[in-house]
Amino acid sequence: MTVNAAKPAKKKIHWFRRDWRLYVMLILPVAFYLIFCYKPMAGIMLAFQKYNPVVGMWGSKFIGMKNFEDVMKLADFKPALVNTLWLNLLGLIAGFPVPIVLAIMLNELKAIKFKKVSQTLLYLPHFLSWIIIGGMVLQIFAPRTGVINALLMKWGWIDKSIPFLTDGPHWQGTYTFIGVWQSMGWGTILYLSAITGINMELFEAAKIDGANKMQQIWHVTLPGIRSTIAVLLILNIGQMMNISFDRPFILKNAQVRDYCDVLSTFVYRIGIEKAQYARATAIGLFQSLVGLVLISSANFTIKRLGEEGIW
């Protein structure tokens, strides 16, 4: 009995002693999150202040919701909000399934060399800066002088330029297409690793039962990566209110302003360019709150459907 009573205490010490290196390793990431993710949260105060840059946020005057009211009454706010959601939705619809399909296709490739080359080529666009992609887009899609329009016109297939960049809905299509092209390869990584994790015996069993390739994919591969798909879907939906800055900023132009102005470029124009940091913070906070609602409801729905969810 005495031996048993001493055991739990001993075990506790043992547990820390055994893993202390891991905990030491944890110090850096925890510090990172505290310093760069939690400490700056104090800056949210700015959204409710008349910002005084001389004394900073700790000395500025509290003005309640005025910054939110000021921003939301600006004529550009609503279109920017709608465009953000719409472009993200387009991106999700067009872009979400592509990496899944690609991953399955890559997985089925038998020639190792060809598979590796294809993978590298697919990843490549992810590493290009948007500045460079912006230049390429102009060369390829510009009216009259762009490669596509110039070729089609030369062949006599069209007599008026296709306004890839200069007509609103066309622009949104181009924007979505370029986004899918840029990120599809990179997106396959998680799915590929999930596919590798599927028990090979399941495939063998399916084969013995007479399943052909398509049936194997449908009944084994896809169910095998279902939870990965669910998690990524939740995360994507949580990002619906956030839109990166560089992609819309680089690709936008004056002619399609009503279709391309999004929250990030809006914040840049009225907040950063005008040194109105309090307003920029207000929009940021608004985006985060909506994002929280979206991600929570997506998580709830997915859990209801019997998947694991992310919390």
């Binding site: 001389v54 600006l74 132009n253 004056a254 360019e273 109105q276």
Partner: protein
């Protein structure tokens, strides 16, 4: 042989001594903002000018001078605003931006009041008040000197250029009105004088201030019989709403539909592409800076001649306003960039800052900081003491590269001691093209009006300028590119859009401030 060796050794020794005298750790450091204009090979923080300032100001006064470079092409205002907010801004800050940053700091008492400091800097004060007290008044609020403005040596702002070789080819004279210009553009485009890629009129949208370039054109169509002085000021931020300006847009729309303005003009915020078209000889007409074809960094004229034998840009003045009978051009106010000292710098540093500015204002130092070294940056001085044979940055060794413009930032433009010399000097750097440049300056200073400024912060501008600028860019893109039959509808819808983006509020507040006497600038019409 021995002698040469001795001289070389002596030189090496003195040079070595000079550089070792730099920077003593026990000295206080004065941090000075300078613009980095991306001149290849020039590191502004350790360039020739930084060394000159250290040796001639820093060392004798036992101060370390540190030049802090801020990218001029990439939102200089945002960078300095961020550093100010983080309390790490340089002791001497500069910006071209009037009301965004400085007014915020004036409101919260975050800048040094410069009245006493300026009294202690006699050279600086003499330099800034040489042409009167106006320049200092720009930086004053109720008698407090919050900031200083650089002197603007050349106030010319608008240059308009046409291809002389194309005119000859078409058998045309230099256009003196819009009708003749239109005929020239139409003929040049039709005959594809620049080859298959001809875009007779390279027109683009400068998104952060879309009307900046466009009003040079549309002002020619304004009916000044219908514009009061008050209107002129009230619409100064939205000149597309001046009576008659609509016809200017109709003219642009006509050019677009005739293929003279490129189909992708709204995508052209890419300067590099425009420069290429310009030097490849695709273009026949453009508006820009008064010395644009000859600027030392990218010389359109010389590059064009290489690609198109006989290619030649000359100045012209076709945008004649019929209601006034003259071709209007705007000029800068006499006040250049803003100079201020943030409160984060202690009194010792504020005093050092003014000691530096005063040093900079003495003629020999200003001359050196703006012109560099004889025999390296320029060939020699002429009888007026003005450098001739000025080298392009690419032809100067890296360690001698300078940026003449805004590193000696108390003077926007090269200063040689008198208005006459300054004017004469404008054309001298452009060897071989002196007459062309002189003619361009003369044109840009004829029938001018001074850009409008406000001596108080305008709240509506802070609140709405961002959205109004966006609406303007869209408006210009739409009215220029629409079907001529729909022009009126598109125009009206666009103006409504600009108004609801906040232009109404801006116009009202500017009107009230004009009535309150807070405006500077000139009204070109008849009062």
């Amino acid at each position: 042989m021995k002698k040469t060796l001795a001289i070389i050794l002596a030189l090496v020794l003195t040079l070595g001594l000079a550089s070792s005298a730099l920077a003593d750790d026990s000295w206080p450091t004065l941090r000075v903002e300078v613009f980095d204009r991306d001149t290849p090979g020039l590191k502004v923080a350790e360039g020739w000018q930084a060394k000159y300032a250290q040796e001639n100001f820093g060392d004798p006064n036992q101060i370390n001078i540190e030049f802090v470079g801020y990218a001029r092409w990439g939102g200089e205002e945002g960078l300095i605003a961020a550093d100010l907010a983080a309390h790490i801004a340089p002791d001497i800050c500069i910006t071209y931006n009037n009301n965004k940053i400085v007014d915020q700091y004036i409101e919260f008492d975050g800048l040094w009041k410069l009245n006493d400091l300026l009294e202690g800097a006699p050279n600086l004060k003499a330099f800034l008040t040489e042409e009167g007290d106006d320049l200092l008044q720009v930086g004053q609020r109720d008698g407090v000197q919050w900031f200083l403005n650089a002197r603007r040596i050349s106030r010319a702002n608008v240059g308009i250029f046409i291809r002389e070789d194309w005119l000859k080819e078409l058998g045309m004279e230099k256009p003196t009105n819009i009708e003749q210009l239109t005929a020239y553009l139409e003929a040049a485009q039709e005959k594809k004088l620049g080859g298959d890629n001809t875009v007779a009129f390279p027109f683009g949208i400068y998104e952060s201030d879309p009307m900046f370039n466009v009003r040079r054109i549309t002002d020619a169509f304004v009916d000044f019989a219908q514009v009061s002085e008050e209107d002129w000021y009230a619409y100064s931020k939205t000149p597309e709403m001046l009576p008659g300006a609509k016809e200017g847009f109709r003219w642009l729309n006509k050019l677009y539909n005739e293929g003279i303005i490129s189909e992708s003009f709204a995508l052209q915020n890419n300067d590099a592409a425009n420069d290429t078209a310009m030097v490849m000889g695709y273009n026949g007409f453009f508006t820009g800076q008064p010395d644009q074809p000859w600027r030392t960094d990218k010389n359109y004229e010389i590059e064009l001649e290489k690609n198109v034998p006989g290619g030649h840009w000359i100045s012209c003045s076709p945008f004649v306003n019929e209601s006034l009978g003259k071709a209007l051009r705007d000029i800068y106010t006499p006040a250049g960039l803003l100079i201020f000292v943030p409160k984060d710098s202690d009194e010792e540093h504020a005093k050092m800052a003014f000691k530096y500015l005063d040093w900079l204002a003495t003629p020999e130092n200003l001359f050196a900081m703006q012109n560099g070294t004889e025999g390296i940056n320029y060939e020699k001085l002429n009888e007026d003491g003005i450098p001739v044979g000025v080298k392009a940055a690419a032809d100067v060794p890296d360690e001698n590269k300078i940026h003449a413009g805004d590193i000696a930032f108390i003077s926007n433009g090269l200063y040689y001691g008198s208005a006459e010399k300054n004017a004469a000097a404008l054309s001298l750097p452009f060897t071989g093209y002196e007459e062309d440049v002189k003619a361009a300056y003369l044109d840009s200073m004829t029938d001018t009006w001074t850009q409008i400024g406000w001596s108080v912060p305008i709240q509506a501008v802070t609140d709405y300028e961002g959205t109004v600028r966006g609406a303007e860019a869209k408006f210009i893109a739409d009215v220029v590119s629409c079907d001529p039959a729909e022009f009126d509808t598109v125009y009206d819808a666009g103006i409504e859009d600009i108004k609801s983006a906040g232009a109404t509020e801006i116009i009202d507040e500017l009107r009230a401030n004009f009535q309150a006497g807070n405006a500077t600038g000139t009204f070109p019409g008849n009062k």
